[in-house]
């Protein structure tokens, strides 16, 4: 049995079918989180950013200031920072950075735009603590991937500085749920269907316009956003959402890269303990984020030097 087939078998046990209602999935997400064993060399602690609950993941020997701002997945209706620890801990350990994962409010109790508001508020608070924007990166999986883009679209509208990079893993970026991949990939996606996503979209929007760019950031003008790396599996119904996002990025002349992993499913990264392709993907994300941080540091240093010489004080 190939590792990806083992993951598929595990998923079947875990969530039943792809049409399982989301409220039933909340409990599964909790169980999934409870089963997670924290790796050694990492400290996880609860915190707050301007009142928004967050989880800090700090590996030993973390870079002093580089911080990855994480938004978890779960269709805006489920998921928690704890449920994404398999991913966030791996990112923290391999990129040697702090990860701050936002426990944004969920629908249907707190519909759109609660999630975006919470994420922007936490991002603003992180900057207010003194973080250089260039030392920050943002990203998330599934709804968290879309939310990461929406957060920056809104942050840009509020004139907040941009982080040095964005990563989106199997992003859900369009609440209309009408892309072709919903039909084409229906037979191979073990986790999601158009029906289950539509149910979550309805709960999240609660009557709001699905064309609102903060809900469907693939429809936004992405000008001014940082360079982004998008990962998608070939075997997921959200494949076209990733493609829509890279189209929007290209249209806005944002440096962006989409990598489609053959035979992989929705957010396969989460299963890196058993899946070589997940390790490969996480390493690629960490290398991308770290390279952007390095570039940002070099450019900031040279800006300091340029300013100095133009002041005549160098």
């Amino acid at each position: 049995m190939r590792p990806i087939d083992q993951v598929r078998a595990l998923l079947k046990d875990l969530i039943g079918g792809p049409d399982t209602p989301f409220l039933a999935r909340r409990k599964q997400a909790e169980e999934f989180a409870a089963a997670f064993v924290k790796p050694t060399g990492i400290v996880i602690e609860a915190g707050r950013l301007d009142g928004i609950a967050v989880e800090w993941i700090v590996p030993d020997g973390a870079h002093a200031t580089r911080t990855f701002f994480h938004l978890h997945g779960g269709g805006y209706v489920l998921g928690t920072p704890a449920a994404s620890r398999a991913l966030t801990c791996a990112l923290a350990l391999r990129a040697r950075c702090r990860v701050v994962s936002v426990d944004y409010r969920l629908a249907p109790e707190h519909p759109f735009p609660a999630a975006v508001e919470d994420a922007v508020r936490a991002y603003r608070a992180l900057l207010a603590q003194g973080h250089e924007a260039g030392d920050l990166a943002i990203g998330g999986e599934s709804a968290g991937g879309g939310l990461a883009v929406a957060t920056l679209v809104e942050a840009r509208a509020q004139n907040l500085p941009m982080p040095s990079s964005l990563i989106a893993i199997s992003p859900w970026s369009d609440m209309q749920c009408e892309a072709g991949s919903f039909a084409i990939k229906a037979d191979v996606d073990p986790m999601l269907t158009r029906r289950s996503l539509k149910e979550m979209a309805d709960a999240y929007l609660s009557g709001a316009d699905p064309l609102d760019i903060r809900a469907s950031p693939a429809l936004a003008d992405l000008s001014g956003l940082p360079s982004m790396l998008i990962h998608a599996g070939s075997d997921e119904v959200l494949l076209d959402d990733a493609i829509a996002l890279i189209d929007a990025a290209s249209a806005a002349r944002v440096e962006a890269k989409l990598v489609i992993f053959a035979g992989m499913i929705h957010v396969w990264h989460m299963f890196h303990a058993m899946l070589p392709e997940a390790n490969e993907a996480i390493d690629a994300l960490c290398a991308f984020v770290t390279d952007r941080w390095d570039e940002s540091e070099v450019s900031r240093t040279s800006i300091v030097k340029q300013k100095r010489s133009s002041d005549g004080t160098s």
Binding site: D60, A64, T65, G130, E132, T301, V304
Partner: protein
């Protein structure tokens, strides 16, 4: 009325240990405090303690080894406080390791925080201090900045650098008649988190480690054995010296090295 009313003070590494004790002591004397630390949470806890006692304090992330962070920090202080009178360059780490086992990377990291950090901080904040009518820069060196200690070549080098950097800048400021005094303080064995990880990887321990009573007890014994007065010191012992150097009581004191070590350097 406190000795530091209407003064504004910046303490680096104020999220724990001597920096925290110092920030609190300066606040007790009436100074408004800015706490800079890579540990924002620790910095916020220090500020909470000050505010709970009726003082004024603001935490902000600061990587003292980064010129970029110092530039934004200087802008922040000028924008939010408009002046600066007291700069305590306290942030430091201790990587204890025999020379042949010390990696260049570890050496550079320690130098980056302990020595570059003092250079960058003094350089970044001095213009605002001069603009504010003068003030006091207090650099935290160590007895290890005066005498050698086996297994601590990097720490000694960094702290020795701080000692002489202090004297040179003190003379520069005196010559410039800018009313800024610059002094160093040399703590001996003080019970702070920095000492708890000696012999481990040399990384800064977490605040929780500072509350580990067994480890603390061991440090207390080791410190006591090495100290003529028979016990190790507390952050408050250093803070008292910092308050003195920060206040006008020390108006004739610049370029000096204030040793607070329970007698270690006397023998």
């Amino acid at each position: 009325m406190g000795r530091l009313e209407n003064k504004i003070a910046l303490v680096t590494g104020g999220g724990s240990g001597i920096g925290r004790g110092c920030a609190i002591a300066l606040a007790v004397e009436g100074a408004r405090i800015i706490v800079g630390d890579v540990d924002v949470k620790g910095a916020a806890e220090t500020c909470d303690a000050i505010i709970a006692n009726g003082g004024e304090a603001r935490p902000r992330l600061l990587d003292v080894s980064s010129e970029t962070y110092w530039r934004s920090f200087a802008e922040f202080v000028e924008h939010e406080f408009g002046a600066l009178h007291i700069l305590v360059n306290n942030a430091g780490i201790c990587i204890s390791r025999p020379l042949l086992e010390m990696s260049f990377e570890a050496w550079r990291r320690q130098m980056g925080i302990n020595l570059d950090g003092v250079f960058l901080g003094t350089k970044a904040m001095l213009p605002l201090m001069v603009k504010s009518g003068g003030g006091s820069v207090i650099n935290i060196s160590s007895v290890a900045g005066i005498k050698g200690i086996p297994g601590m070549s990097g720490y000694c080098a960094s702290k020795g650098g701080v000692r002489l950097f202090t004297k040179a800048v003190a003379l520069e400021c005196a010559r410039a008649k800018n009313n800024v005094r610059v002094n160093s303080i040399h703590p001996g064995a003080i019970e702070t988190p920095i000492w708890l990880k000696l012999g481990n990887d040399g990384e800064m321990p977490s605040l929780d480690a500072g509350r580990n009573s067994d480890a603390m007890e061991e440090v207390r014994h080791a410190g006591a054995r090495a100290t003529p007065l028979g016990h190790s010191g507390m952050p408050a012992d250093i803070a008292a010296g910092i308050v003195y150097l920060a206040s006008d009581d020390a108006r004739f004191v610049t370029g000096t090295e204030l040793i607070i070590d329970g007698g270690v350097m006397a023998g």
